[in-house]
Subunit: 325 residues, 2 copies
């Protein structure tokens, strides 16, 4: 109730604006969270294209605080900042239920910290958000558009603590200047990795049948960076592969790829059999501590902006064909 | 989605436990937020009783971060810590709607920071929370007890951003070890101050008729510290003056005190006339940007622990009688 923290917590961007306004920015892209599953791909992608970028580590700069991050932006003057840092529970979101402070700091407060630093220094930026703030489909059967209010959040009181903080993070970014909010969902690609949705399907003892929009990791990275390169309007974008998959579809595609490899005598690393939970109830009883987001997102906004990902079935089949064990 | 912040955000208390376990604590009380309206009273109260205390400022130690606060606790080894720091909008909670990051940091994240530092160093502590996470009365007509789930929070999606973060702060403290959560509501006393409920009633152009439990500031401070001195069980306590007031009751008491002073020829600083909004709708339309919490709290738990405040009417009338302009 006291206001002791009021002054320290309020920061005045104006004091910095003047020092920065007449600086021309470098053509460097600054990446936060480059040690993460998504952030590492941004660094790899930009370096692969020979685009100057700097992946800053928290050891160098404690970018979770406004002041050090602001100083970094003033000294390095990036053309654009990518925030791929956040807090995801390990091995899954259940861990966020017992690490609530870190989850709240990483997913709700941290985006606000980046916003303050970017706005005070006039740095355009993009935030890797999550589509896990929705559940199911829209009442009209369509996928959720960027304009639909999250229905899997603290405000709907049906969510995991992780999803709650992700939705709160988007609230904190509401009205942010020169900011992209990119919604990723269940990343996958052709590289065996515990964070890869396909790896998860192949390693989980029992699977939950559910419908989801999902994001091919490299396509997500390429498409989100294209938002900046093509200077499409700032704002929120669902960045998933068009369409949606049922868990059982992907299992079938895995088994079809297995059959193809068998036929052609190509060694196949994929498990042969897959078990499913009878229903959501038994999944929640046996495997999960907190509700999961399963949802379908509409990608029309990104497509209309001239950027689109591969249709989801094609993207998944390709990843399986080109699988690196 | 990335885990870049995972390691930095997760902290392991065990590393510190061993260094601290065999330290005997000093008999000093550490106060956070002592520059605030509530925190200043704690410092005044403890010094008045000759109890060793230290009011630490953020200039000395950035106690909003776990590491500096933990180091402070290790070096100063307080017997008990009082957190009276938080973020309240100025002039009112409407300001929190445009300072969401600071509100979230001050009211939801900061209590979690204090919890981590206190638990890792084995420091018992008390947190000044707020009763503004409820609205109205319980369905059965009673005041809300400490066991009732907040009904004015993000999860009920009907609240101000301020109340949302206060409720989230209590969630972050759920299960905290050796921790008191003290719920204050609308502080008042006999000292003219913009934060004083009675001053507000006397200065607002138009008043909203509402029923509330409220807390006499000095009694709140004395009673909450008594929780520690008497070693009552840790946990959540509603710390308001028993009963509830209607705005119009308080106005009547002000006018009765005015009449008494007139009669006895004592100068009276109180305004003579008070205007009320027709209804909540016109209040919201004319005066407020975000919903206010008006609620009644049950104080039986604190009373049963052997600590009780003066009945609310008596406490308000006394403050008016002893008013210091």
């Amino acid at each position: 109730m006291s206001t002791a923290l009021r002054a320290p917590f309020r920061r005045n961007p104006l004091t910095l604006k003047n020092t920065i306004n007449d600086c021309t920015s470098s053509n460097m892209i600054l990446i936060l969270g480059s040690t993460g599953y998504v952030g590492a791909k941004y660094e790899q992608y930009l370096k692969g294209r020979g685009i100057p970028c700097r992946a800053v580590s928290r050891k160098e700069v404690d970018y979770t605080r406004v002041e050090p991050l602001t100083e970094l932006l003033i000294s390095s003057r990036p053309e654009f900042l990518i925030n791929a840092a956040g807090y995801t529970g390990k091995p899954n979101v259940d861990a966020c239920e017992i690490n609530k402070l870190a989850t709240l700091q990483g997913n709700a407060v941290f985006p606000g910290v980046v916003r303050e630093a970017c706005e005070s220094t006039g740095t355009p930026w993009g935030h890797v958000s999550s589509g896990c703030i929705y559940s199911g489909r829209r009442a009209d059967g369509q996928g959720f558009s960027e304009e639909d209010t999250p229905n899997f959040s603290f405000r709907t009181n049906n969510c995991s603590f992780y999803s709650g903080t992700k939705a709160l993070g988007e609230e904190i970014l509401s009205g942010a200047k020169d900011c992209f909010i990119w919604r990723l969902r269940i990343p996958f690609n052709n590289e065996n990795n515990p964070r890869n949705y396909l790896t998860k399907l192949m390693t989980y003892k029992t699977l939950l049948e559910a419908e989801n929009s999902i994001s091919h990791l490299e396509e997500f990275v390429e498409s989100t960076f294209a938002c900046w390169e093509k200077r499409i309007p700032f704002g929120t974008y669902n960045v998933t592969n068009p369409g949606a998959i049922m868990t059982s579809d992907v299992v079938r595609w895995i088994q079809e790829e297995t059959a193809r490899r068998d036929k052609e005598g190509i060694p196949c690393p994929f498990p042969r059999s897959y078990a499913f939970f009878d229903d959501l109830e038994s999944f929640m009883k046996i495997a999960a501590k907190t509700p999961r987001s399963n949802c379908v997102l509409d990608t029309a906004k990104l497509t209309e902006a001239g950027i689109s990902l591969t249709p989801v079935e094609e993207a998944v089949r390709k990843a399986l064909r080109e699988w690196i064990p």
